[in-house]
């Protein structure tokens, strides 16, 4: 499950921001800011994508690098959100 989610997220970033299918172009831990992949409007697209794909709702106060700034961070964030939904 985790690997699948991670791969889905990575594939989305690769296709939509790096315009490539070459997986070596993006490591799971690469910071989007440090690597210059994403700008301020790009992050809105990512949020839309994870909301639609994983059926979660991202609050404004969650738009933090610790939640969103790498494939690893995104995956952990989505898992936390899904767990919250299940618990609620």
């Amino acid at each position: 499950m985790n690997m699948t989610m991670k791969n889905i997220i990575r594939q989305y970033i690769l296709e939509n921001f790096l315009f490539t299918e070459d997986e070596s172009a993006l490591q799971y831990s690469d910071s989007f800011l440090d690597t210059g992949i994403i700008d301020s409007t790009g992050v809105l697209e990512i949020i839309l994508f994870i909301e639609e794909t994983f059926d979660i709702k991202v609050d404004d106060n969650e738009m933090l690098p610790s939640n969103l700034d790498s494939v690893d961070n995104l995956t952990e964030f989505v898992q936390r959100k899904q767990a919250q939904t299940v618990a609620a």
Binding site: L18, L33, V43, D59, L64, P65
Partner: protein
């Protein structure tokens, strides 16, 4: 008294050495610490051969090292050239060569971009901010270079007519041009900005805009000039981070561009935001929709909102005094203090209220010209009424009302403004024509609610080409900053031509509607 830009730092540090100059993430620095660092860097640069008037490039993200490097270069007598951290290798190489920079100051994260240039440019010295001590040959660790340097300011021979900075900006003719500003012009406009923004020592100015962009740069310069505090952030990409900083650091001045304000308003509609400590909100780089005036007041209930207009060639042209925002919600106001503006018709005569003309700017803030570009300079700087005087022709169309307030109508060139950044269609087209398989390419700006304008490319491809939209974007992304990469690519069998055989952009525009 400050004659040189760096004097403003020395004066503030002498009067208020322990006041906080800069907050960047976990880093907090007093004016004494900032000055000590800048002086050590100045000595390190001089030890590497930097002399009065030499250009030194800074290729860094919005970090504290970037901010302080500006003063270090000035204290060494150098001319600073800040290059946006998003810049790709070829363009960085162009700027380094065009400016003939003697030293490059950069950081480890950007080694992937500048690394291969180190061998190609053997006379360029490179200092790199890095926690790691292992750096490639030809790249020195910045901290090591500063370690034994003295903290006293070096002797200065610079005078106020010398260049302080080159600010590279996109033009309709393709390659970026270095706008030359002297110490005199920068200090002059700095005082004018501080006056009309009514900045005080107790202010805390947020800077989420790149320091490579003059709007971001002047937040730093204004903070140092007034002895205020700069709250430096890398980006607005993660808004919640900025919301936290606004509250936790007591930010009082919020400078933004329409894209940032659109994101703020969108967030506000989902969950109400309120930053009561912010006293001033400023907008420039692109026109702020008039309905933002009142909506922004919900987020910033105690702030004056400044609508402004400017161009790098004179830093800032006009501002709407915030008291006038109800009466003149669409206007970008009047000339900034100490300067003059004129809207002239084709014969050089002032237009009547309501008539459209070209905006000219007169004042000590006007640039000296473009670096090594006399023809492009002559296009922008026109003879004034006094001997030797030069007016700045903005080539932008304006009207004035009965009270002399300015209204922006449009541009006369085909520059695209996206997210407040200027994009040259020619620069994007040049990259498209470099892609194997593309036969013809044309680039336009199309309206976009968030970006202002989005970049749209029309291409026709060779018969055997298998290029996809994604591949074209990828190949553009390898060469262009992210904001320049076409958001849309439309394939056509061939592009429409005008009678003289040139691509007919009007016909392309008509296809959009």
């Amino acid at each position: 008294m400050s004659r040189l830009l760096q004097d403003t730092l020395l004066v503030t540090a002498a009067c208020h050495p322990d006041d906080t100059a800069l907050i960047a993430g976990d880093v907090r620095m007093s004016y004494r610490e900032v000055t000590d660092y800048a002086c050590r860097l100045a000595h390190a640069l001089k030890a590497r051969g930097v002399r009065r008037g030499d250009r030194v490039a800074i290729f860094m993200d919005n970090t504290w090292q970037c901010a302080l490097s500006i003063y270090g270069i000035l204290l060494a007598g150098g001319v600073f050239v800040v290059v946006n951290a998003q810049t790709k290798r070829d363009k960085l190489a162009f700027i380094l060569r065009d400016s003939d920079s003697r030293v490059l100051l950069s950081e480890k994260n950007l080694l992937r971009v500048f690394g291969p240039l180190v061998e190609q440019m053997p006379t360029l010295q490179v200092l790199c901010a890095s926690e790691s001590k292992t750096l490639p040959a030809g790249v020195e660790n910045l901290d090591d270079a500063l370690a034994d340097m003295p903290v006293q300011p070096p002797l200065q021979s610079t005078i106020s007519l010398d260049l302080a900075s080159l600010i590279y900006t996109s033009g309709s003719t393709g390659d970026p041009k270095g706008v030359m500003h002297t110490h005199q012009s920068m200090l002059f406009v700095l005082q004018s900005l501080v006056e009309y923004l009514r900045l005080e020592k107790t202010d805390r100015l947020l800077c989420v805009l790149p320091l490579a962009f003059d709007y971001g740069l002047y937040q730093l310069l204004m903070a140092v000039y007034t002895g205020a505090t700069l709250v430096l952030e890398r980006t607005f990409t993660y808004p919640a981070q900025i919301f936290n900083v606004l509250e936790n650091e007591g930010v009082t001045v919020f400078p933004g561009v329409p894209t940032i304000f659109a994101m703020l308003l969108a967030a506000h509609e989902r969950q109400p935001l309120c930053f009561a400590e912010v006293k001033r909100v400023t907008n420039t780089a692109a026109a702020l929709p008039a309905n933002f005036n009142t909506r922004l007041r919900e987020i910033f209930p105690n702030a004056d909102i400044y609508r402004m207009y400017g161009l790098t060639e004179c830093k800032r042209v006009s501002y709407l005094p915030p008291e006038q925002i109800q009466q003149k919600p669409e206007s970008v106001g009047i000339a900034i203090p100490g300067t003059e503006v004129m809207v002239l018709d084709a014969d050089g005569q002032p237009v009547k209220p309501g008539e459209v003309g070209t905006l000219y700017v007169r004042g000590s803030h006007v640039m000296l010209g473009y670096w090594n570009q006399p023809e492009k300079t002559a296009h922008m700087l026109k003879p004034g009424s006094l001997p030797g005087e030069r007016l700045l022709c903005t080539h932008d169309l304006f009207t004035v009302d009965e009270d002399g307030y300015l209204y922006f109508i449009g541009r006369t060139d085909d520059i695209i403004k996206s997210r407040g950044e200027k994009i040259s269609p020619l620069e994007v087209e040049t990259i498209l024509y470099g892609i194997l398989g593309i036969r013809e390419a044309a680039v336009l700006g199309v309206p976009d609610p968030l970006l202002g304008q989005a970049v749209k490319a029309f291409v026709s491809v060779m018969e055997d080409s298998t290029l996809s939209e994604g591949q074209i974007k990828k190949l553009c992304g390898d060469k262009l900053e992210a904001f320049m990469v076409p958001k849309y690519v439309t394939f056509l069998p061939e592009l429409p031509k005008s009678a003289n055989g040139k691509t007919d952009k009007k016909a392309l525009t008509a296809m959009l509607s």
